[in-house]
Symmetry: C2
Subunit: 208 residues, 2 copies
DNA sequence: GAAATAAGTCTACAGCCGTAGAATTGCAAG
DNA sequence: CTTGCAATTCTACGGCTGTAGACTTATTTC
């Protein structure tokens, strides 16, 4: 022994337990939302009892806040790389549509919010993180007029697609060829990425 | 007496009670979603006890189904009139944005689904009605290629805007000038209403 | 080995949930 | 007025919720 003891060696491994709870909680919140996921269920998924959740995070609400913050801090769609790609609109469209791929983190965040629609508290927590992470990244990459509104609308499209496909399960979208959706979505996003707020061109859009 | 007795006069007015429960239920589901709205709360809003809900509708789930069907059967945005207006895109955009106006019915439906995201059963019930009402109306009005996908995407945009504005409360959208949102949304919807699935004009097939 | 402390579990509490069956009320017809 | 039935309420069940305090267990330090 004495091999590892970073910052005082853990007895029954508090760090690992905490991480396990976070992981289980994320899965549970993605699946059932804030109200739907039970503390006992989350704890069981981490191999501990319900009280550990309160012991490590104080309350279910604080655990939720940490899960949301962590999930949205690792974006995979709205990244600076994607936003500076040659064909931004198509790249974003593909990220929104390809739910199976490695776009899981960003979509997990939207999914949690979609499943947590009933809770005002969850909405507030999610709003703060969306604005801090996704919205910020997006708005920073845009140029021209009405940047905030355009960024908000792009996020709305991502959220709406997620809701109708994964949540509601609208068949015309679940059964659609992903490539068709990407092709249809690309010009839509293009209209918001560029500054074409109809006719008031003021200056030539240099952006994207 | 004998003044009114349509289909055998009601003693303590079963019809009125039933209608009162439906009305209260709709308000409750809009506010709290399927899981969040309690049977006792719904009943209290109608001035009766919880058991009347089961007596008149069999179960909470059946009540929900009836509320959703009724709400979505009275659309105010996706109407045939709006879909044959001269400037369809702007008319739809305005309907999606002006939440205060008389677009309440259509938006109520989306709001119920947004708040009920945690329940798979509610999603299934909502999906059926959305496809039957909104989707059908919309798809019938479109022409060209990929009508079903385009209709689904338009519904996604409506749902996403609703979620981000009313649900999550994204500030860039809640504080935005509605006219700006309409102006930005119009070309976006235009891209989906027209058949501009990028460059493959192949042949003009009448859709679906 | 004994003491100290961190990690984890047990038990319990109010309070809510949807719903079932029995009992009760109110109205209208005989 | 009485009888009959529809409309409504009462009581209750089993199960779930988040969380608080006391208790137990394991690990480390002296």
């Amino acid at each position: 022994m004495a091999a590892e003891r970073e910052t005082t060696a853990r007895r029954r491994n508090a760090e690992a337990t905490r991480a396990a709870i976070l992981k289980s909680a994320r899965a549970a919140f993605v699946k059932s939302g804030y109200d739907g996921a039970g503390v006992r269920e989350i704890a069981a998924g981490a191999g501990v009892t319900a009280m550990m959740v309160n012991r490590y995070f104080g309350s279910k609400e604080k655990l939720f806040a940490e899960v949301v913050a962590q999930t949205m801090a690792e974006p995979t769609i709205l990244t600076r790389e994607n936003l500076s790609a040659p064909d931004v609109a198509r790249t974003l469209a593909r990220g929104m549509v390809e739910v199976t791929g490695r776009a899981a983190a960003t979509l997990d965040g939207f999914q949690i919010m979609q499943k947590s629609g009933a809770s005002a508290r969850a909405a507030e927590i999610g709003r703060a993180q969306i604005e801090k992470q996704h919205f910020r990244t997006l708005a920073d990459a845009l140029t021209g007029e009405h940047v905030a509104e355009r960024a908000g609308l792009i996020l709305s499209i991502a959220a709406g697609l997620q809701q109708m496909r994964q949540g509601v399960g609208l068949r015309s979208l679940t059964r659609a060829d992903p490539e068709v959706l990407v092709a249809l979505l690309t010009p839509v996003l293009q209209a918001l990425l560029e500054d074409n707020s109809e006719r008031k061109q003021g200056g030539r859009r240099r952006g994207m």
